[in-house]
């Protein structure tokens, strides 16, 4: 076994080195740049530190503390509500996992910006819902009610929930295949516990442990989101992330110093949010155990499971309306209050292909390349770990995966673009690399569970039949894992399509994708051309998801257990 052991080490070592060089170190260098600038050291502007003046400038920003509280509140509310909804939904619909996954996949694939643009029209005071109500309520003009950009950030929270709930449900579905869910449920039911109670006492605590990182990612993203906050969030003041990104793009170049301090503050805020969430979960666990010890069976709680199902249905309707809105706006000529339908339809925007085709092509190639590279890295690492008989998501790799997702993008990107310029990389290559940074972690998170849950009997049997390590990978593992692999690839594709800041900054503005165009156009006055971009932005990942669902089902049409439909 001596020679194979040597090879085993090198594969894991190769994967680890690549990940460290391509992802971990650049992120740390980028962060380092932000730390230096945040403490007043930016030699190119003739500013030498250390000094606290960037922080003083930052704290003097009007409404800053309100921005901070807004970010914390919207991010935490969205995360907690999404988490509760996701648990409620899979508790109620566990038996319908395949259908649930199929219903949620399109929503999972829709980029945040596209969903926000669509949702904004649905819930706006002059939007679809208001137009539906107008005749009954005798509104001759749209009501002056802040259903969008409200000071409490409720519209932003709604938008985030719409995106994060399906993500968490998908993660939970994957995680719940790792625990003996059916057996535990059967045993607990036999002891007289209600279905909901079994989830609360038995399954949720196990699953929470498995999905800690994804929850943290959702939390970090929600606390620091920029694009959705711009479209749906309050404006006076906006959330901290928007304030920081505005500082960064301020024409006064010295504003980069307080922006870097703001990026660090954003990081601290994310840590604070995580600490609060952790404490709340500990408290909930403690309360839960106290109740459990009293032996209550809580069968009546089962009826409450209807609530998350109803909420989920409502969210799906909203998301559906948002998607339809985008499609209709893309073919509208004019569509004014109080019309429920455009008074004139036109394909003019679609026919002007020069307006959207190049961006669509660029986005497609970047997403395919970034996903392929990230997939290669992820499989290399997970397989290497498998052969070394060590878990994939462990130690520093956990950090490598978490860092790009937990750090606010802005705080690392200015440093990264500085590093890249010295490397003299072409803008396209830089953007693809930037996307890999954020695609790879999602792929590893999505795949690590599946890899760990793989029945070792399969590879052992193959090995006993004389199949070598590469043969076991190609002929046993990858085919068996085709369902999680294709879903992960679709997720990676969707993540890449949605990237805004990495495309803009690392591409130096030279690389225009559907997302950069959609965001630029969403600050314009033509909802139609923004809708064309958003429709494509949502449609491309959706098609890929469809393929990811169909492919395993087709390849394994005669192998029920391999269709990616647990249970």
């Amino acid at each position: 076994m001596a020679a194979p052991l040597h090879k085993v080490r090198s594969l894991r070592g190769l994967g680890g080195t690549l990940v460290a060089l391509l992802i971990l170190l650049p992120v740390l260098f980028g962060l380092g740049h932000s730390v230096m600038a945040g403490f007043g050291h930016l030699p190119v502007l003739g500013v030498k530190g250390p000094s606290l003046s960037p922080w003083q400038t930052l704290l003097a920003q009007p409404g800053l503390w309100r921005s901070v509280i807004l970010s914390l509140w919207t991010g935490m509310a969205a995360t907690v509500l999404s988490l509760i909804l996701a648990f409620g939904a899979i508790a109620a619909l566990q038996g319908h996992a395949p259908r649930l996954r199929r219903v949620l996949a399109p929503l999972l694939a829709v980029p945040h910006a596209a969903l926000a643009i669509g949702l904004a029209f649905v819930i706006a005071p002059s939007g679809w819902i208001a137009r539906l109500l107008a005749p009954a309520l005798d509104w001759s003009r749209p009501p002056d009610v802040a259903t969008l950009g409200d000071p409490w950030g409720l519209a932003l929270i709604l938008g985030l929930i719409l995106k994060e709930t399906p993500f968490l449900i998908a993660i939970l579905l994957a995680a719940s295949s790792q625990i003996p869910l059916r057996a535990q449920m059967a045993a607990a039911r036999a002891l007289g516990y209600g279905r909901a109670a079994v989830w609360l006492w038995l399954l949720v605590p196990q699953l929470v442990r498995l999905i800690r990182l994804p929850v943290l990612v959702v939390l970090a993203f929600s606390v620091s989101v920029v694009d959705m906050a711009l479209i749906l969030g309050p404006s006076n003041p906006p959330t901290l992330s928007v304030t920081v990104s505005r500082l960064f793009t301020d024409p006064d170049l010295h504003a980069m110093l307080p922006a870097s301090a703001g990026a660090l503050m954003q990081l601290g805020l994310t840590a604070l949010a995580a600490a609060i969430l952790w404490a709340a979960m500990r408290l909930a666990g403690w309360c839960g155990r106290a109740i459990l010890r009293r032996g209550a069976r809580w069968q009546g709680l089962d009826r409450a499971l209807a609530a998350p199902v109803a909420m989920l249905a409502l969210l799906l309707v909203l998301a559906g309306l948002a998607a339809v809105t985008l499609a209709v706006w893309s073919i509208a000529f004019s569509w004014r209050w109080p019309d429920l339908w455009p008074d004139r339809l036109s394909l003019a925007t679609w026919q002007r292909q020069s307006a959207w085709l190049p961006a669509a092509q660029t986005a497609l190639w970047i997403a395919l390349a970034a996903t392929a590279i990230a997939m290669l890295l992820a499989v290399l690492w997970l397989e290497g770990s498998d052969r070394a008989d060590r878990p994939g998501l462990q130690g520093w790799m956990r950090a490598a995966v978490a860092l790009p997702l937990v750090l606010p993008q802005l705080s690392i990107l200015i440093g990264l673009s500085g590093l890249l310029l010295r490397a003299d990389l072409s803008p396209m290559a830089a953007v693809i690399w930037g996307h890999v940074l954020f695609v790879f972690p999602y792929l590893v998170i999505a795949l690590a569970g599946a890899w760990a849950a793989l029945d070792p009997q399969l590879t052992r049997t193959a090995a006993s039949l004389g199949v070598g390590p590469w043969g076991r990978l190609w002929r046993v593992k990858l085919p068996v894992l085709i369902a999680p692999l294709s879903l992960a690839a679709a997720l990676g594709f969707a993540v890449s399509i949605a990237q805004y800041l990495p495309t803009l900054f690392l591409g130096g503005g030279r690389v225009a994708t559907l997302t950069t165009e959609a965001v630029a156009l969403s600050s314009g006055s033509d909802r139609r051309v923004a809708a064309v971009h958003a429709t494509l932005q949502a449609g491309l990942p959706w098609l890929i998801y469809l393929a990811a669902l169909i492919l395993p089902a087709f390849l394994h049409r005669d192998r029920r257990a391999l269709k990616g439909e647990p249970g």
Partner: protein
Amino acid sequence: MKPLLSALALGLSLTPALAEDWQQVLDQARGQTVYFHAWGGDQRTNDFIASVGDRLQDDHDVTLRHVRLADTADAVARVLAERAAGRDSGGSVDLIWLNGPNFLAMKEQDLLHGPFVADLPNARYLDLTEGSANTADFTVPVEGLESPWRLARFVFTYDSARIAAPPADMAGMVDWAAANPGRVTHPDPANFMGTTFLKQALIELAPAGTDLSLPPDDDSFAAATAPLWEWYDALRPHLWRDGLSFPENESIQQQLLNDGEVDLGMSFDPASAAAAIADGLLPDTVRVHVPAAGSIGNVSFVAIPANASNIAGAKVLANALLDPETQARMQNIDNLGAFSVLDPARLDDAATAAFAALPTVPALPSLQDLGPVLAEPHPGWATRLTDAWQRRYTR
């Protein structure tokens, strides 16, 4: 007469050399791809830039790539980030559409190439005499570092089917907004259009004798803006969303006007209403309104970053934007409708006739309708207005 003579003499002595140099620029530019970083929020402007690109390709074998910015400061930050990395040439930005604060920032940081404007053959159609609108950008001396390409005038838009024309002066806006609660708003002053709204009011309301062309200090700012804040405190409670939140920019406000959520829009392009109507983006009853005393006007420029990769190509593009044929096409409401920067007195007969033959529509004001141009205050006023507004009204 003497300046004219010396200019003529200078012109005569320079012309052959200039032509030769320009041929060199054209030769260098051939085959280059120019990355033009320009705000991409207006489809008609995007289409017009694309059409300029087509001509550039045909006439000079120069490819134009329009990098559509959500905010011009993105390009400024980009150039700075490149310099931060020691990239003094081969930069990613070749030409930027900018003015005012962004120009000042780049000029002060020494990020611009030039002076280059006087070298452009089509600069002969420009009024570049001292004190003309083309030589000062928000009172900051241009010094040949940026080339003009379109005129901007601050105007209001309103739906004449829904309301009568807005008040003739900014002071009257308080009563008007009170009579139409929740129907009036302005873009967030973090955006230049929101700042311009405040500047327009400042010019009208500042105490007599205030010189806004000088950089403000704490005292002069406090004295000049006292009546402004008094006016704004009276106005704000009647605004859309109780004056607690504001549209991000004028395009979003135009969308609100189209949606019927507000009754007032504003623009830096007098042709934008007519263009938006033709494009289905506003009801065809929308009209343009200018305060009786006139409104703020300025010139949009293009500038070349010092580290641009394709300086020759950028110059060819800047020159193409000043071509009388291009400028007439730009001013044509069927294409873009933006007013030309060329001096009518310097045009030849064919160009004059081309401008005279441009079509007109009801929502398009003539230059006469727009009244007098009010000069932009020094950029320091805009910065301070934004800061002061945020301190006062952002909780």
